[in-house]
Symmetry: C2
Subunit: 429 residues, 2 copies
């Protein structure tokens, strides 16, 4: 039904191979032939058959981006950044060999996440980018890790963006690896120190993209031999297979934020956190607690009671969480939120209870989403360079940028002090 290469070849009076060559553009073709072919392509409105092409070349131009919530700007910004890198890649005329960057919405469900990875593996995706916090259930972690390793082993580039790196073999059962210094150290100071700033790398264009790590076994026989093995025998540990990570310094950011509140004089600081099983939630909470502990053991002890976990990172969770917090600890003079969206919900709840922000209660968010700056009052928050991180993840996924040392880049978080935080009101009476 659809037009094929052969049709174009016939119309241009050349062989199919020649057509293929002008379209891929990676092979010398005479100018005259070239334009003749191009014209035929145009006249016939020919569009390459992706599946056939992928089959023959053993590579596809699909890049999957997994997000936890497609309606959340946090992911929108990252995903958009990843996509923008795909386009900038090669702007050849005609049917430029652009990558098809697509986003898959897992809704935060581990099952969906796995399903999408399988689907992408089936499509032999060129790369997969997993964004946002991971769920920490051990069973799921193992399954996820397996899938990712298999993907990587099959030549799909895997990049994590905004989630911690995969645990290394030495840490089985423990916490995720922390290859840089941005993790759970004593943390006496308030400023976030990140492993590696967002440096501008020389864009290392691979001359033959996709030809680096793939196809370990070249001849058919070798391949068969490898395939006869069971998975355990095949893969090795999977380390060094090139699962890259662009991590956020959530701990450092939260620490800075809490330190800011403490410096203002707050002592009863509530925390409306995200769902407990997510890495992002845990890391931010750890940073918060670290700052409290650094200030005084007493504050640290009371932290548990002042923490409320919401069901998600949405406004509703913030609203509900704030009400619960006020019920549990009406004395709070400041509330930290899981993120900016949650913070807005917190503000709404506070206002409804007749409390002014920041006069009665200070509120702070996280992420510095676009709306935070012009909310009223403007939100004090922690800025994460979401776009830059996403762009970098995109470049790593394309192999257009050298991997960071150790495969992990931690991206700096920056405290943004705005109008929603102020010193606590002096006690009257």
């Amino acid at each position: 039904m659809a037009v094929t290469l052969a049709d174009v070849a016939a119309r241009a009076g050349v062989s199919a191979a020649t057509v293929s060559r002008v379209l891929s553009g990676n092979y010398p073709v005479a100018g005259a032939t070239r334009s003749r072919v191009l014209r035929a392509v145009d006249e016939l409105e020919y569009v390459v058959n992706g599946p056939a092409s992928a089959l023959a070349a053993a590579s596809s131009d699909l890049v999957g981006i997994l997000v936890n919530d497609i309606a959340d700007p946090f992911f929108g910004i990252i995903a958009g950044a990843v996509q923008s890198e795909m386009n900038g890649a090669e702007g050849g005329p005609g049917a430029g060999p652009r990558k098809l960057a697509v986003v898959c919405n897992t809704g935060g469900s581990p099952g969906q996440e796995l399903t999408y990875l399988t689907l992408l593996q089936r499509q032999r995706a060129a790369a997969v980018v997993l964004t946002g916090g991971a769920v920490e259930d051990p069973e799921h972690s193992a399954a996820l890790e397996g899938r990712l390793r298999r993907l990587a082993a099959d030549g799909t580039r895997v990049v994590l963006c905004g989630r911690p790196p995969l645990r290394t073999p030495g840490e089985r059962g423990g916490r995720p690896g922390k290859p840089d210094g941005a993790s759970g150290e004593p943390a006496g100071e308030a400023v976030a120190e990140a492993g590696e700033p967002v440096r501008v790398w020389d864009t290392v264009r691979a001359e033959e993209p996709g030809a680096e790590g793939r196809r370990q076994a070249r001849t058919p026989l070798e391949r068969r031999a490898v395939r006869a093995l069971l998975p355990e025998q095949r893969g090795g540990s999977g380390e060094g297979l090139g699962i890259l990570t662009v991590a956020f310094d959530n701990r450092g950011g939260a620490r800075a934020l809490t330190a800011h509140l403490l410096a203002l004089g707050h002592r009863a600081v509530g925390y409306v956190a995200g769902p407990p099983e997510r890495t992002t939630t845990r890391h931010r909470l750890e940073g918060h607690r670290a700052a409290l502990a650094a200030h005084s053991p007493g504050l640290s002890a009371g932290a548990e009671r002042l923490t409320v976990h919401g069901g998600g990172y949405d406004r509703g969770s913030g609203y509900d969480g704030a009400l619960e917090l006020l019920r549990r600890a009406p004395e709070v003079t400041a509330v930290l939120a899981a993120n900016d969206t949650v913070a807005l919900g917190v503000c709404a709840a506070l206002r409804e209870r007749g409390l002014r922000v920041p006069e009665d209660v200070s509120v702070a968010g996280f992420d510095d989403l676009p709306f935070s700056a012009d909310a009223s009052p403007a939100l004090t928050t922690v800025r994460l360079p979401l776009y830059e991180a996403g762009a970098r993840a995109g470049r790593l996924a394309l192999g257009r940028q050298a991997p960071p040392p150790g495969g992990v880049a931690t991206v700096r978080a920056e405290l943004m002090v705005r109008a929603s935080t102020a010193p606590p009101r002096p006690r009257t009476g």
Copy 2:
């Protein structure tokens, strides 16, 4: 490198054909053989090669969802709904033949839109869903239409969701078609009448999905014959090729909203609209003007001056637009916004100017996004059943639901009166 069907077959001691059959599940296989195969699949962690499968079967399991702004919940809700339909489809055990629903972010750019459609066509996507308003540039419309018709002709299901149907041949150069009664009639009444309510259809499961309209020419010879023709000779007009539409009653909704304001007593109603070239903007504006005209010619005449076009459907546009509006027409007692997000920006700007909502100025949005109900004040708006519309679009894209009569379903808009609108303050002096 990756495991293949043949490997599984070898390990299970059967032929490749048999493995293929147990995996597709659409062919009788002995129970014993079946389980043996399944075990081999499991042991080898076999994952079907999508490209190969797609090539052989001439069909893929990719479904593309195009959105204008991935960071906008409006699209998030619709896209999420479409995706949810993909999963519910067939929950077979093992590697269930789920569709890979994937969202592509055009950023509202016509060029990107076309690029993505080409990419999806290249992948031989099973279906494509275009969501949200279209850009009305004639050149782009023509190009877009061409692409869609070719997609449809190639067997890809095309569904429009939240945008008007493709113009019919009789209307070349004119407005998009309006097959139902919800368009630009005199509009004397305030209530939105939609073409067809969101009825619950009997879910018509096609026994052999994908086997309906495709493969018009069965034998190789027939196909060659067809392909030898030029596109113009090939496609026909493209009408009846099954480009389905789930349209929103933007006009009716806007009319109802403006009527509500007029009924409250407002006479100076400002409008912070979206970008002028988008269908959604135009339709909502038309509904607004229709309601003004229905009330009195005088109001209609002044409408132009009270309309400000923003650069997008985001908060910033609302903020800027409101400031511009106040500069141009400080007498406004009510402001309509392009959508809820814009409305929030409008509120922020008004507050900053010292105007209270709704005491000094009433504000209303559009769409009824989740945050609108618990904004402060709660936003008066027009509810569009985004999730239902997306779900329906998903079912249509899968061929799981009978197409609406005429290929177009218009979805009702419902006025939601909340706290952000009130009667205008009586003039003092």
